[in-house]
């Protein structure tokens, strides 16, 4: 199963207001090509995709939050799963595109190439709706079920290494991504996030 095909099946299922947090590496470039949007927060570095998604999901409980995570990214801070579970959230779809490797860093094997089972770990952390899928059809069905029924879902998609040819270059860095996302939340939520002060102490 190719990661790009999974993401391609997911993109048309999402409401335009669905917030998507992605890790850094090939996932964010593929997702940006499939669903360019300021509702995406792209390029969250190793170990932090789930943590940032947790902060967003707790703060905006009325918004659907999809995390597109990698096995390596999640493995660095596995405890994020326990912290997510303990918030009893109803707006989280945490998808791990598990290629059993650190593809963005050269492709060496991750712990899921060995004995680690991320879905079992998630269940142990308290996430009841944790599953593994191995075909695009299964992935799409699982994503559709999660999107249509509020809850906290954890889906491990076992994917091959490798991306697709001719992906557009991701031209924004974290600073620009921050501004775009924050401005989007400001306009869609009616809040002010960026608030420079001009007053003297």
């Amino acid at each position: 199963m190719k990661r790009f095909d999974c993401l391609k099946s997911l993109a048309p299922l999402l409401d335009p207001k669905t917030i998507v947090v992605t890790n850094v590496g090939p996932i964010c470039r593929e997702w940006n090509a499939l669903r360019p949007s300021d509702a995406n927060l792209l390029q969250v570095n190793l170990g932090l995709c789930a943590a940032v998604g947790l902060g967003i999901a707790v703060s905006l409980p009325h918004r659907q939050v999809v995390m597109l995570d990698g096995d390596g990214n999640l493995l660095l801070n596995l405890a994020s799963l326990a912290d997510l579970a303990n918030q009893s959230l109803h707006n989280v779809i945490h998808i791990v595109l598990d290629n059993e490797s650190y593809e963005g860093g050269g492709g060496l094997k991750s712990a899921t190439a060995g004995k680690a089972d991320l879905a079992a770990i998630a269940r142990g952390a308290g996430i009841v709706n944790a599953s593994i899928v191995t075909s695009v059809e299964e992935f799409e069905a699982g994503a559709r079920r999660a999107l249509n029924n509020p809850g906290h879902y954890f889906i491990v998609a076992k994917v091959e290494k490798g991306s697709v040819d001719k992906l557009p270059t991701l031209t924004l860095d974290g600073k620009e991504g921050k501004y775009r996302f924050a401005r989007y939340i400001e306009s869609s939520e009616g809040v002010q996030i960026l608030r420079p002060r001009y007053t003297h102490i």
């Binding site: 947090v21 940032v52 902060g55 996030i193 420079p196």
Partner: protein
């Protein structure tokens, strides 16, 4: 930490607009932590390590909350990676409230290394800080740090030492 200091921290957090607190619930400042956890003014997200806490606060800020991370000097070392890869790389604000275990006067030998790490680490992380040793200075220091972190888009810390952590 005495009641006057705890009250001043809570007052400062509220006056500065902080409405979201993350922390790892494992330090000897548990009275303050428990009060924050049970105060409905704050969205409270306990985490299993301070690196996760930085990520959680980043997500909260990007979602319109005004977060603070209560972090011990040991946890600041754990948080160094996301303070670099998120806060420095993305220019993200974060109010860090740090009870300064390991400052001069802290007699526990195991805290000694944090005198060597805490302030130098904040400097290399591009996170300015105030050193506060009097209870009456706590609240204003938090308000000022919050204003600066939001304006400057980088972490700003308040280091609590002296009588504030007795």
């Amino acid at each position: 930490m005495e009641a006057a200091a705890v009250d001043a921290v809570i007052d400062g957090l509220k006056r500065s607009g902080v409405d979201f607190v993350s922390l790892m619930p494992d330090s000897d400042f548990s009275v303050l932590q428990a009060l924050v956890a049970n105060d409905r003014h704050f969205t409270y997200v306990p985490v299993s390590n301070e690196a996760i806490g930085v990520g959680v606060c980043a997500g909260a800020w990007l979602s319109g909350k005004r977060p603070a991370l209560l972090v011990p000097t040991s946890g600041l070392l754990v948080a160094a990676w996301p303070l670099t890869s998120l806060c420095m790389a993305w220019n993200l604000p974060l109010l860090l409230l740090i009870p300064y275990r390991g400052d001069i006067g802290d007699a526990f030998w195991l805290m000694g290394p944090y005198k060597d790490t805490t302030e130098p680490l904040l400097k290399v992380l591009n996170a300015p800080y105030s050193l506060i040793s009097k209870n009456e200075e706590i609240s204003k220091a938090i308000v000022d740090a919050q204003g600066s972190t939001i304006s400057w888009q980088r972490p700003v810390a308040v280091l609590l030492t002296g009588e504030t952590i007795k």
